[in-house]
Structure formats: structure tokens, C-alpha cells
Symmetry: D2
């Protein structure tokens, strides 16, 4: 299956504003690309490509005063299969987890593991361990939190989601991640493309999407407390502790977003 | 100058509890060690040594049910000079910072840069840039926050320090770090040994200490909003985004601390 | 000057839901009414009228399952003059304030005086005391906080407004109230009608409005950190510690708001 | 049974500081007093006695610069019976509650009903209604929260107690009050004397105590989520929405507490 990916984003700034982007496909998906995946800007500026500390493909640039457009269109091959699942996947004892997985058990800005640790135990301790426990977490979050774009709040943390019970996709994932970590299951935030491929969903303005990954058995698995269903056509861009580490663009200074379009469509090959 | 370092820590647990420690001297100080620096436990358990994602020397072990003692004593050579200073050190524009420094500009669990960004601008925008601005941050935090062990609260964040104006050493550093990041100055948390070497201080129970580092010019520099003075004999153990990443011990399960002693004394060579 | 006031509000509930309303004109304005001011419902239900502990005219009813409409239209005479001002009005020492004013110096749900006390001192201690200090508070809040309906968040407190710097009218007042209380100036929340009478404002969906009152000299005075200008045609409905005490409707159970219209128009007499 | 009550409190202030006290026995207990109950100060200052908006006996005074001592000793007759109980007491529907009870269903500074509403439903919806439901709330809070003077934190709210699971007596009551209100059971904070009368408790420094009251059937009943047992010899001083309204002393300016002693002892008549 082929998916056309792309974005067209425009900022307006008063002065020079450094911007870091995570707009490229994740290194783990590079081999599936059928066209170049390269950030282009108008006006053209110097772009520094590097791998960030979480293993994502990052770009750094300085937006000149005025307007700048960031765009790209690329083509990727996808298995066309839904998110992998293995209901038998086990939790790994902490002393046998790879060391680089351990940070995903800890507190982060939007995931206050310390504050929700008792709640997680009370809600999920009786759930079967492993894959089923992560499913129990997703089911709970999905059923208890109400989705709405009007509930978007960039400062809302997992505790805020737990208390307010509303949010956008990132909020669902933050709460689920926090519960998993509190249960000693490594969990990390993920962002990427997710079109309406393979499902019938009410039409909505296409945006990048957030989901999360948990480490079970010997690898990371995709979960999504927002949709709470296996989906086709996710294309990973970035992973990190939480939304802080996976922001599509981070501006170090005021940058007004004046256009934002994302494309993720199945293409007949 | 020679400093004898050591610790003697005891936990009691009901069941097996995995523990991660950052009890070793930081890799950047290994060459100064005059005796081995090795975590020993009683009862002896398997200890896995590794470098964590922040570059610290970590150990992982599983405490058996009952009591476990973690201890060591080592000897390190120190310059005997106070913390380096360079009042002329400049802030580096974000587009010229080394990429691995960029995460230290971002939000973390105890450092809500987003929530204190405007306050930082209002308080420090008029301060001279570079070293002097960091000094202004430290002076403000040092003068506005009241130190007291009775104010210790492991869930207090930088915003909590800003609103409550009380805390222990980690709280002072969290607030200063958050202000620096909000001003686009990379800042990270540091923990290590800091005895009463070279200063006359009221005797207090020796504990590990927290300070912070900022990136100016071409390197990380030591600052300390708690003591707000240059000190002799700091021995770095760990750095990270905030206290989450630098906890001396992290237990994944209930572990009751029943003894805790730290040594950091100048030794006549 | 005559102002036609009215509202037309509709809820939908699954079961019986008790509702308390503050939809009547404040007792202090009863003598200005030129038509009856009485809550009517469809279907008709028993309505209990009473004065609440803050001196407001409250109604209590039980919405039956299904839809219920709350409406009224009335006519009130207004001075047609802008909010009273007295730049010479003085702060009253706490020991000489009327005792029933003292609660308006204290913490409340959305006004954490304790948490913003130091900030208030740092920002406003140098301002001239009395009326000018309240003006300084309003100017600060008005200039630092960005208004937007999309920023509406019913759980945001004064501290949230201070850190996020966005909000709707209630948020502006909560922050200003909190600063005033921290400065030992009694301040209370007010809600009522405020049309576009006497000013040229961009057309916006009419809603009830929030402002606040401070106690200076020997009485309560109207201030408005949202508009930060003297306005004509405010009609007070309720005062209280904060938005908790002044909610137009409080439902004790789920009640879905399906229609909401407010009228406040000058009428040619 | 006769109980000797008393306090001896000393403050030190730099300048004149207005202080409001709630150091007298509650008006509802005046008829049980066998000696005068009058606040005395040294140096003697003018004391204004009044009933506050919650019905408590308050005093207002201005502490002169320097030290001031507040003290009294009085004698009260007590039934000698434990807190009243009526396991059959029913919850009253909101539309039949006395209007002056309604405020005790709402949010207050330390009781964020809005934020814990869903949690309360999830935890207690299946409990039998009325007295048993309040008991279920107290049992939960008592068993889940760890008491410790070292956990005292004047800014901790009910949500903080829920997330941190530690606290002093006021914290236990705040969480229980919040849960009750979320379940539509009116609940208010209470403070007063509570000696070790009638129970064998580990000796502890005597302090004023906090408990709470709920409205069931046709009256307020005493509950205590901290001790979670019926006690003898409570002497009520003040009730209010939460600790804000019931502070034994509220200083409007810096006042350093330099002595604090409370007496509550059974006296052989």
C-alpha cells in the first residue's frame, strides 16, 4: 500500500526565530520511503538535519522576520496491515529491561507518574498482567475521557486529564502513558501521520496524530487510547517521553501559525 | 586536595524490589579517583553497571526481601579551587548550540518552562545577557525562597517553589533552571557530594547536594541558587533534566529507607 | 435610560436534575425594575425563590427528564452613566473594615491568595495605595492576559491565569481579585448583564458578563480587568467570592446546555 | 463531664499586624461553659468580638510591634458521650435541603469538587446511600492516606491529598469533604478542641483538631476521617467551607509564631 504524506505549514514572526522541527519520517521508516523526505522552506533558509537524543530526525532552522512556509510531500510504502498485536506479550521485569528503556518508566512534564501511582494501582492492579493490562488502561481512558477539539489545552497534564476527563488526542495518550509507567510498564509518546485509511470515520481536519508505545516482551508496541482500535497506515515521526519531546515544531520566540495542512492519503499504486 | 567520599544507605523491603542507583562518581571525574568507586551491597547481590541516557554511571540491582545495605568509600583528588567562573561567558544563539544541549531548554517534570516563561521575561529581561543574567536568576531565587528541611516535598515543582517560596536545595535549583530555560539558556540539574570544605557553615546532617549547570559560551558551568556562592569540593555524580533523572536511588516498589549517611571530608594527603 | 434584559436558556437532562439559578437581578437593583423579573420555565415547574448567603436572589427547581426552558424578559431603568469612580478612594485598614467584608480578603476556589501573595507584593507594592493600586492591578491584568473564547476552561484558577496568560472574562477578574486580596484590599466577583451600550465594540455573541468589586473608603466599587474601561449599563445579578458563588446556573447532575441566549439592549423610552 | 480548655499562643511581629481569631468556643456550645471564655492578650489591646458570616465567634485585634500573647483558660461541661451516630440517617434531596446548607455542596479553596467529582462517583457510587456512604468515604480516606506531622503543607488541597496520599488532620477532612460534596452530600469543615479523652492514643503534642460535619436527615453530624472513630470530648470552635474559613488565627501581615500550647483535659468535677 502506498500513502502520500505531506504538510504545508506557515508561520509569521516579528524577528528571527529559531525553530526545531520533527517533520520528517522516523528513521525506522526511512527504508519504506519511495520519494525523498526533505523539509523545504520558502524563503529558503539553511536547514541543519540531525538525530535528536530520542533518535528522531530533527531539523533546525532560523525563521527570518516575516512569513515562512515549511512544506513537503513524499510517498511511503506501508504494509497495509493494522497495528501489530500480541495478546500474549508479557511485561518484562525491571531488572531485565534494556537500560535505554528505563527512562520511559519515569516522570515527565505531562506525565506525573508520582501523582497518579496510587490511582493506577487501584484501577488496574487486578487486571491480568502484560498486554491485557495495557488494554485495560486504554479501555478505561477511552471510556472515561471525552474527546473535543474545544478542550485543547497545551498546559494540561495527565493529572489534568484524569481530573477534567476531557481532551484531545495527546491528552488521552498522556494519561494512558502515565498509568502504564505507574504499573512499571515502559511507555512513550509517539506522533506521526494517521489518515482515515481503512476505517470509516467522521471527516475531520487532518492533523498529525498522537499515539503511544509500550515495551512488552522484547519490543515497543503501538497503542492508541484515543481511538482504542487497531489502525492501518500509521507513519511514525517521533517518539519521546511526552508531547514535550515530540512537538512537530518548537519555536524559540513568538511565531504565529497562519496555515497548517497535513496530508495522509492512500494512493493507488 | 584529597576528599574522602562515601555513603552508607539501608533499605528495608517486603518483597523483591528493583533499584536503580546513581551513587557513583560521574564519568567526567573518574580520572580523579584515587581508590575504586564501586557500589557494594550487603547481602551481596548482582549489580549491573551501565551508562544511562544522560551519561551518568548507573547501577541496577534487585533488593531481596528484608534489609539491604548500599555502601562505599572512595578517595578523589580535587583542584581545591572554587567553582569556575567567567563573568564574560556569553549566551549562545539557539541555532548554534550543540544539538545534544537543546533538550535542556525544554519542559520537564519539575521544571514547567511553559508556565513560568512570562514571569521569567518580566523579571530578567532587563538583566545583562549571558553570565550576568544567570547570576540575576540565582540572586533572585536565593533571596526570595526560604530554605528549610521541614519544607521538603518531593512533589513540589518549580511553579510550586515560585508560589510557596520555600524549599530544600533541589527546589532552589528547579526554579533557577526553569527561569534559565525560559530565557533560552540551557540548564540542567546536577547532584553530587558537597561537604563543608572551604566554608564555614552551620553544621548540618550531610546529604548529597543539588546544584545546576548552564551552558554558556562553549561549555557547562556550575551554579547553585541554594548557596549562591562559589564552593570548593563539589564532586559531580549525575546530571539530567531535573531531579527525576538524578535521583540517587529509584526503587520500583516500596522500599523503606532506614539508614542514610553521606561522607565528604577533606583528607590531609 | 431603559434597558431590556432577558435570557432564553434550554437544558436537556436524562433524569430529574436539581438546578439552582442566579438569573434574577440583584436585590440592590430591584427598585429600578419597570417590569416583573421572574424566572419562567417550560414545562412549568415549582420554583423556590430565596436569598442566598451572599445576598443574591436565587431560585431552586428540579428539571424533569427531557428538555426544560428557562426564560424571562424584563425592563430596567439605568442611570446611563458610566461606572462610578473616585480616584481618591482610600484603602481601609483591616481593623476598621466591616466584619462582613473580611471574607473577601481570603482564599477561595479560583482565587489562591496564598499562592500569589508574593507576586502581588512584588508587582504592586510600589503603586500608590487605594484606588490607584486597584487601577494598577487592572492595568497589569488587562495588558498581560490575552482574551479568547477558545481559552475558556472552567477549571482554570487565578494561578492558571497568571501562568497561562489567556482566558475569558471570568479569568481576568479572578486574577485581579486575587491580587487585590493579597494586597489586603477586599475584592469580590460580580456577574450580570453588560450589553454594548455606550461603547463601540466588535459584535460578539451576548453572554452574561463578569466583573469585580473592591471595597474602598466605605463601599464597594465596580472594576473590570477584562474591559479595563468604565462602562454604561451594567446590571448586577450576583456577587460572591468567585465564580463558584456566582454561577448563573448550577446543576446537581448532568444537564446538557442546548440553547443559550442573553439580551441586554437599550430601549428608546 | 468537665473539660478544662485553654491555649497560650505567642506571636512576634515587626510592625502592627491585624489578626482575626476563632479562638472562642462555638456559639452552639456557649450554654455549656462553666467559666468565661474570653480572649486575653498581653499586652492588652482592644479586642472586637463579632459573629462571622459562618456563625462563628470571631475576634479582631491589632498586634503591636513586638511580641503578643493570646491566652485563655475556661471550663466546659460535656455529655461525655461519643460523637452521635445514626446509621439510618438519610441523604436529603437537593431540592429539600435548607438553602443555607447549599453552599456546602460547592467548590472551595481546598476542596476542588469539580476536579474530584468523577473519582468520587467511581469510588462510592455503589456504596449504600446516606450514613453508610459517608462512612465509606471516611474508611477510604482513613485507609489510603498516611498521617504524619512532617507532611504538613498549608497549600495542599483535597486533590493534593488524593494524589500524594499523605497529610495532617486537615488534609484527611478536606479530601473526605470533597468526596461528600461530589456525591451531593453537604459537608463542612470543623475545628475545635479534641483531647485524648476516652481513648488510649500515643501521646502527641496537643493541638487544635480538625474534623468535618455532613448534613443528613435534618441536621449536621460529626465525622472524622483522620481518626475514623467516635470520640468523646470534642468542643467545636468553628465551622466553614474549609480550613480557610476556620483558621484559628489569620494574620494580615507577617507574624512569627513563637509559642503554641493547647490544653484539653478532663477535670474531676
Amino acid at each position: 500500500m502506498l500513502i502520500r504524506l505531506g504538510y504545508d505549514i506557515q508561520f509569521e514572526t516579528a524577528g528571527e526565530v529559531p525553530i526545531v522541527t520533527l517533520l520528517n519520517v522516523h528513521p525506522s521508516r526511512k527504508q519504506d520511503l519511495r520519494e525523498p523526505d526533505e523539509l523545504r522552506t520558502d524563503p529558503a533558509v539553511k536547514i541543519e538535519n540531525y538525530q535528536d537524543t530520542f533518535g528522531n530526525h530533527a531539523c533546525r532552522l532560523v525563521a527570518p522576520p516575516g512569513k515562512i512556509r515549511l512544506q513537503n510531500s513524499t510517498l511511503i510504502e506501508d504494509s497495509g496491515r493494522p497495528d501489530l498485536e500480541d495478546p500474549a506479550a508479557r511485561e518484562i521485569p525491571i531488572d531485565r529491561l534494556p537500560p535505554d528503556v528505563l527512562p520511559y518508566l519515569m516522570n515527565s512534564r505531562y506525565c506525573e507518574v508520582d501523582l497518579l501511582s496510587n490511582t493506577a494501582s487501584e484501577l488496574f492492579w487486578n487486571a491480568p498482567r502484560g498486554w491485557q493490562r495495557v488494554r485495560a488502561v486504554c479501555d478505561w481512558v477511552h471510556s472515561k475521557v471525552t474527546f473535543g477539539y474545544e478542550f485543547s489545552n497545551p498546559t494540561r497534564t495527565a493529572l489534568g486529564v484524569y481530573t477534567e476527563r476531557v481532551g484531545v488526542c495527546r491528552d488521552f495518550q498522556h494519561l494512558a502513558i502515565t498509568f502504564c509507567r505507574a504499573l512499571n510498564i515502559p511507555a512513550r509518546y509517539a506522533t506521526g501521520y494517521l489518515g482515515d485509511i481503512g476505517v470509516v470515520l467522521p471527516p475531520s481536519p487532518m492533523d498529525f496524530s498522537a499515539w503511544f508505545e509500550v515495551y512488552l516482551e522484547d519490543r515497543w508496541w503501538t497503542f492508541d487510547a484515543r481511538h482504542n482500535m487497531r489502525r492501518i497506515g500509521r507513519v511514525l515521526m517521533a517518539t519521546g517521553r511526552d508531547a514535550t519531546d515530540c512537538a512537530i515544531t518548537t519555536s524559540f520566540g513568538r511565531a504565529k501559525l497562519i496555515n497548517f495542512q497535513v496530508t495522509s492519503d492512500e494512493v493507488q499504486g
